[in-house]
Amino acid sequence: MNRDAIETLMDRWMNEPAFRAEMRANPEAAVKASGIELTEDEQAALKGIDFSLSDEELQARVSKFG
């Protein structure tokens, strides 16, 4: 797993409203345009993530045992 890539991605998500909007609209295109290189598993994860969820909605989905 390429943690630097995920951290860079999440840093930009947190700090750049325009990038956040691009990610919500089309995450695969936004990542490709950013030049961030993801592994096969990270790309698969990216496709499954619902970037429209707010932080609160995301935290509400966490279960006790995973």
Binding site: M10, E40, D41, A45, I49, D50, Q59, V62, K64
Partner: protein
């Protein structure tokens, strides 16, 4: 997953059977009445937690992971029940050790000395499961391989737990170190459970390796999700109270610098003894975006588990069950299965 008729708490049939079998084995092989009483207390106290895990994970993984892997290779799960009883004992022993380390013992231990509880955990972890494996009706080489799997798994987990304890209260913990610790603790645990099912079923070495890695990725995802629950959802964060350094905290420590970092560390220290400081700490970590980072990492591990599962020969219902279990760790559950690897 089948609902059990013999338990009032809604446990699955498989989990109820494994726990009943494990308790009977422990009672039959423990030489003194006093020790049998302590073990009975441990099993009785564990049943509600096991039922809760059954509901949340689409089958408690410490039972359903070895059973489903066995079924994936051999076609049915029933012959693997003694292995699931052994993994249930291992899980229970680890759970008791965790509770002791965290100072978070459940009410059923009230009035018992920590040394006695420690003894129960040690017995469940290092004597009974190995005896159960040694007595399996399986070829000698399969039993030897399973015992080796347990010993190697426990050694790895022990090293992970030591790292976890060493990080407690520290401000010099990186995300890399937390990842390594979670991999050794929870990754190795679930990897071992999955591998035991494959070994009993007589799977070839490369298939055993794949199932171990499926379990490892699932174990990492589940532990990270559980750590998120403690920090973001639980009424009181035991990790903050104990100074445990989980991934969201390590991420903030990695990111912050200068005065911001000093302030964060001071608040972390206060959060160990002050409820209001712990509340402020939780709000700060929530605002940092750490939850989204952790959710992504969890999703990556779930996808890895699904990809590796697709590389095994697993088909049919056991595969669906394993997929659902893996997806239970994801915060994007629906999409994890729908958009997972093609069947």
């Amino acid at each position: 997953m089948t609902k059990s008729a013999d338990t009032a708490v809604g446990m699955t049939c498989e989990t109820a059977s494994a726990l009943t079998s494990a308790e009977a084995f422990a009672q039959e092989n423990t030489p003194t009445e006093a020790m049998r009483e302590l073990l009975a207390l441990a099993f009785a106290g564990f049943r509600s937690a096991a039922a809760e895990m059954d509901a949340e994970c689409d089958g408690a993984p410490f039972v359903h992971l070895p059973l489903n892997v066995y079924a994936a290779v051999a076609g049915c799960w029933e012959p693997a029940l003694p292995v699931a009883a052994a993994t249930a004992m291992l899980y229970l022993g680890l759970d008791i050790f965790d509770d002791l380390a965290d100072g978070d013992l459940p009410a059923h231990w009230t009035g018992r000395r920590p040394a006695e509880i420690n003894l129960v955990a040690a017995t469940l972890l290092s004597a009974l499961p190995q005896l159960a494996i040694a007595r399996l009706h399986a070829p000698a080489d399969a039993r030897a391989a399973m015992l080796q799997e347990i010993f190697e798994g426990l050694l790895t987990m022990s090293a992970g737990q030591q790292q976890d304890l060493a990080f407690a209260g520290s401000s010099e913990v990186s995300t890399e170190e937390v990842h390594a610790s979670v991999n050794r603790k929870s990754g190795a645990e679930m990897g071992m459970f999955a591998a035991l099912g494959a070994l009993l079923a007589g799977a070839p070495a490369e298939q055993v390796h794949l199932y171990r890695e499926v379990g490892r990725a699932f174990g990492i995802a589940g532990q990270l999700a559980s750590d998120m629950h403690d920090l973001f959802v639980a009424e009181r964060s035991m990790d903050l109270a104990n100074g445990t350094r989980t991934l969201p905290i390590a991420l903030c420590l990695d990111r912050y610098a200068g005065q911001e970092r000093e302030g964060f560390i001071a608040l972390l220290r206060s959060a160990q003894s002050s409820t209001s400081a712990a509340d402020r700490m939780r709000e700060e970590i929530k605002a940092s975006g750490a939850a989204r980072y952790c959710a992504f990492v969890i999703e990556v591990q779930c996808r890895r588990a699904l990809r590796l599962l697709a590389e095994t020969a697993t088909i049919g219902e056991p595969r669906h069950r394993l997929e659902r279990m893996i997806a239970s760790a994801s915060l994007y559950r629906g999409a994890t299965i729908e958009k997972g690897e093609p069947r």
